[in-house]
Each structure stands twice: as structure tokens, then as C-alpha cells.
Amino acid sequence: MVDTLREQTTRMKIQRFDIEDGRQGIVHVIGPEMGLTLPGLVIVCGDSHTCTHGAFGAIAWGIGSSELVHVLATQTIRQRRPKTMRVNFNGTPSEGVAAKDLILYLIGVLGTSAGIGYAVEFSGPAIRQLDMEGRMTLCNLSIELGAKMGMIAPDEVTFAYLQGLEFAPRGEQFDLAVESWKLLASGADAVFDKEVDIDVAAVKPQVTWGTSPEHAASIDATVPDPVAESDLARRASLEGALAYMQLEAGQPIDQIPIDHVFIGSCANSRLSDLQSAARVVKGRRIAPNVTGWIVPGSLKVKRQAESEGLDRIFLDAGFEWREPGCSMCVGANGDLVGPGQRCVSTSNRNFVGRQGPGALTHLASPAVAAASAIAGTIACPEMIGYK
């Protein structure tokens, strides 16, 4: 597969960021960090988490191989106009609540089918306060809401992030581009097919307990009881999820013992994610029965983190500091969680078998994943004495 890709890109003169190239990494990490991802672009890629790039005010979504052929052959793609949904994140998030918590909370409230057929705009004061990396995390999980496209209107935060990046416009061209990008935001009178309001002050750190991202709950909650679900088919599916996850209704989520922690993936492998985890880990040791992996999203992230000494903090705590890639998010290349093993993961999918046959996945933010590694159970940073 890799050989074919090398051969074809060379033949067609398509620029490639190969394994020995200093800019290699997960496409949804390196596109933005090199300035290839810009506001107003239409971006498609053979990966469902292409919605990540919507954080820049691009229309970005994942496609299959046939549509990819169409794009390469024609420079276009045929699409039906999606319905529109706006999600307003109102208020100010509490201390310790990350972008990952906001989006998991939303998916928990609306469900994984809510976004089907929609392009979603994330908006509101809590979104404006997020840095670009937080916005990418949020847009990354649009597809877990059912929406193949999620986006955030570009603003000064976006423009400041892009200025000076390798592939971003420079000088006069940059000023010209910014003028054009400022026009992209939805007008004050814009009407959406669906509008949702979320009060972020009520959001606590989130963890999933089941086998769908919509099985999200506050970390201080208990595993829900399927009996509370009146629809019998849905009740059976919740019971199936608990049986697969080897959990009992009523169990406190923050006391569930774990075997693995994976901090990485296109959802949460950027520098600020590693900084957030390192702050929690610093001066502490990983629990004896836990294997902890840190997988930076790109070589650039890895080098930046090393220049700040984050690798030492993780290694001293007993984590493995690994090479950039998708790794344990998708159980690729043998990076697997074993059958019946329980993993707190900063990735975006807790599907049955996603991290390996029989693997049990709990999705969470980098700070919660880091605290869980130290505690040996699902835990928030406060539980291990972090302030």
C-alpha cells in the first residue's frame, strides 16, 4: 500500500510527506500545522475525521475511494446540499473542562444520529474562547454526532494561527486572504434548519461508558441502568453495551479499574493536548498495572514537545513516548488493546472492537486520560490531588 502510494504520487507529481520527511504525521494534524488547511477551502480526504479541518471555516468531509477517484479525475465532487444546524455553546466552561468534554457532552445529549444529513456550525462564546487546537478537537467529533461536516467561523484566532505557516499565503496575499476570510462567517440574520443551545456551565469532564460515543456521562456519574429506557429495542442495545464493556448499572464511573491509557489520535494529539496531560502527570508515577502510551500527532508536535521537556515528564512517570501516527485509536499496525483489556483513550471512537477484538474503550480528554493513568482507575485530575 505504501509502495503504491509512493509510486503513484511520484508519477503524478503530487507532493508527499513521507516517513523520513520532517513534516510527517496524521493528515488532520499536519494539514493545519503546515497551513495547507485554510478558511473557505473545500477539503476532502479518504478519512471520516476530515471534518476536523472545519475548525478553520473550511467545508471539509470524509469520502470513500470512488469519490476520491472522481476528485482526482475532475477536481470536483458531486454533493447534495446538506441541511444546516447551528449549535450554540453559551456561557463559560468550568475549570478543567476541555473541548473534548464539550463535544462528548453534546453527542451524549443529542445522540449519534442527530447530525445525519446536516452540515453543523459550532458557535457561541465558549467556541470563540477556544484556541485552534481546541476547535479542531471539537470539529473532529462532528462525524460522531452523525454530521460529516462540522465547522467554526474563522476569526482573529484563526488568522493569527495561520500567519507565517509554510503553505499559508504570505505578505500582501495574506492580507487579501484575511479580507476574504472575514466574509465567510454566517450573517446575524442567518436561518438554520435546526438550532441547538448548550449551556456549557453545566458541563463536567466527560467519559464514555458504552460502545457508542453517545454513551457519554459526567465522570462523577454512575453507569446508567438500561431498565430506565422504555423502548425495548434500545434497552436491549444498552444491555448489550454494558455486557461488552463488562460493567454493571449503578457502578461509579470514576472507580472503574483500567489497564491502558492512550493519549493520541487526530482528536487529541496536538501540542496543547500533550501539555495538558503533562501538567497532570508531572512529578507523579503511572499506576503499576497500567500501560500508558503517548503518541504525538506529528513529528513537529513530537519535536516541539521534546523541546519543552514533555517527553521527560511522561517517561519519568512511566509512559511510553512513541512515534507519530494513528496507532491505538484504530488498532492499526499491531497497536492493539487486548481482549477484555480496558483503555482510557483520547481518540474518538469506542465502537466494539475498534481498538482490537474485545478491547474496552472509554473516551475522554487528555487531562482525564492522564489522571486515570496515575490513579489506575478512571479519574479526573482532582482525584489524584492535581489543582
Partner: protein
């Protein structure tokens, strides 16, 4: 692309919501297999025990559903990963049509690229159809008239977007269709290059 007009056969009920593409085809298979080699690995985790033996409790291992041409399922079928091999594996198994409450958007698009018809129905209609199909009755799907028929239920109408319906009925290649308007695409690019030069240059 293979055209779709009528499909008549057994319909296997897989009555869960949120059947994801990771479950339909595993990542290891995607990396190693080519188009035409996926049929044995569709729903691998459901079809086989860890030792490779078939699990007789899974519907696609049962008579007559081993030869099913239609799948009936719940909400959000094909959610998750964009891997088109999920559609390939189902299609290579022999499925030409899926009837579900809703679909992952990317999976829906991938079906259209492969001559697989993804029909959307209401939950109560699906439950009624699943009950009939589970008894081993055959189901006939006609895209020309947009109807699903069984002896027990009679004809049930379904809606399908017209442009996509025509594409499936004719089986035209989408790339060929688009290349017919290549001069319009060129004109758009020339104008866009003037308005947004930074899109077409680097740095």
C-alpha cells in the same frame, strides 16, 4: 457502475442501531485485501468465533440468509469510518439493497458509488418488514416504481432523491458524466484563481 433496477430475494434482519463500518469490515482486512476479496470478511466479528468457526447464531450464517440480497437494519447504519470497503464487503457478499431507518452520510454516498441501494423507511415500517423477512419470505425492491413488496405486506412506497435514483437506474459512471462539463469546471477555476489567488499558490 452496476445499474440497479429490481432486486428480489431474502432479506436478513440485523435489528440494531449504529452498526458501524469498523464492525462491517476490520482495519486489518482493508490494508491487505483487494476489491473482490472482501466477501468472507464482511461482519467478521459477528460471523466467526475466535477459532475461525462460524457462529450459527448470526443471521448471515443461517439458511436462507446466507444468500440474502437485502439487509434490514435500524438507525445510523454504516456510521463511523469512511472506508468504502464496508460497502464492497457487503456487495461482494451478495447484498444489493439495504433498508434502514437512517445511514451514516459517508456510507450512504459510498453505496451510490457501488450500485447498492440504501432505502430509508420509518421504524414501524422496518419492524413490520423485518418480521416478514425473518420468516424467510422473499422481498422485492423495485427502484423504477420506488416500492418494496412482500406477499404479506403488499407494496410499501419509499422516497429516494431523484438525481441519485436516475444514476442508479442507468449505472452511468459519475466521472464520465462530470467530464462532459469539464469546460465549465475550467471556467470556474480561472475565475476563482483571479478572486482567490492564494488557493492556487503555495506560501
Amino acid at each position: 457502475m452496476k445499474a440497479f433496477t429490481i432486486c428480489e430475494g431474502y432479506a436478513a434482519p440485523l435489528m440494531h442501531d449504529n452498526i458501524d463500518t469498523d464492525l462491517i469490515i476490520r482495519i486489518e482486512r482493508i490494508a491487505k485485501l483487494k476489491r473482490g476479496e472482501f466477501a468472507p470478511w464482511a461482519f467478521e466479528a459477528n460471523r466467526y468465533f475466535a477459532d475461525g468457526a462460524e457462529d450459527p447464531s448470526f443471521v448471515l450464517n443461517q439458511v436462507p440468509f446466507r444468500k440474502a440480497q437485502i439487509l434490514i437494519s435500524g438507525a445510523n447504519f454504516g456510521c463511523g469510518s469512511s472506508r468504502e470497503m464496508a460497502v464492497w464487503s457487503i456487495e461482494e457478499f451478495g447484498i444489493r439493497c439495504i433498508i434502514a431507518q437512517s445511514y451514516g452520510d459517508i456510507f450512504f454516498g459510498n453505496c451510490l458509488q457501488n450500485g447498492v441501494l440504501p432505502i430509508t423507511l420509518e421504524q414501524n415500517q422496518i419492524n413490520a418488514l423485518a418480521k416478514v423477512a425473518a420468516s424467510g419470505a422473499t422481498v422485492k425492491v423495485d427502484l423504477q416504481t420506488c416500492t418494496i413488496s412482500t406477499v404479506a405486506t403488499g407494496a410499501i412506497s419509499f422516497a429516494f432523491p431523484e438525481a441519485q435514483r436516475q444514476a442508479l437506474l442507468t449505472g452511468f459512471d459519475e466521472v464520465d458524466q462530470t467530464l462532459k462539463i469539464v469546460s465549465q469546471i475550467d471556467r470556474f477555476q480561472q475565475e476563482d484563481r483571479r478572486v482567490r489567488p492564494w488557493v492556487y499558490t503555495v506560501g
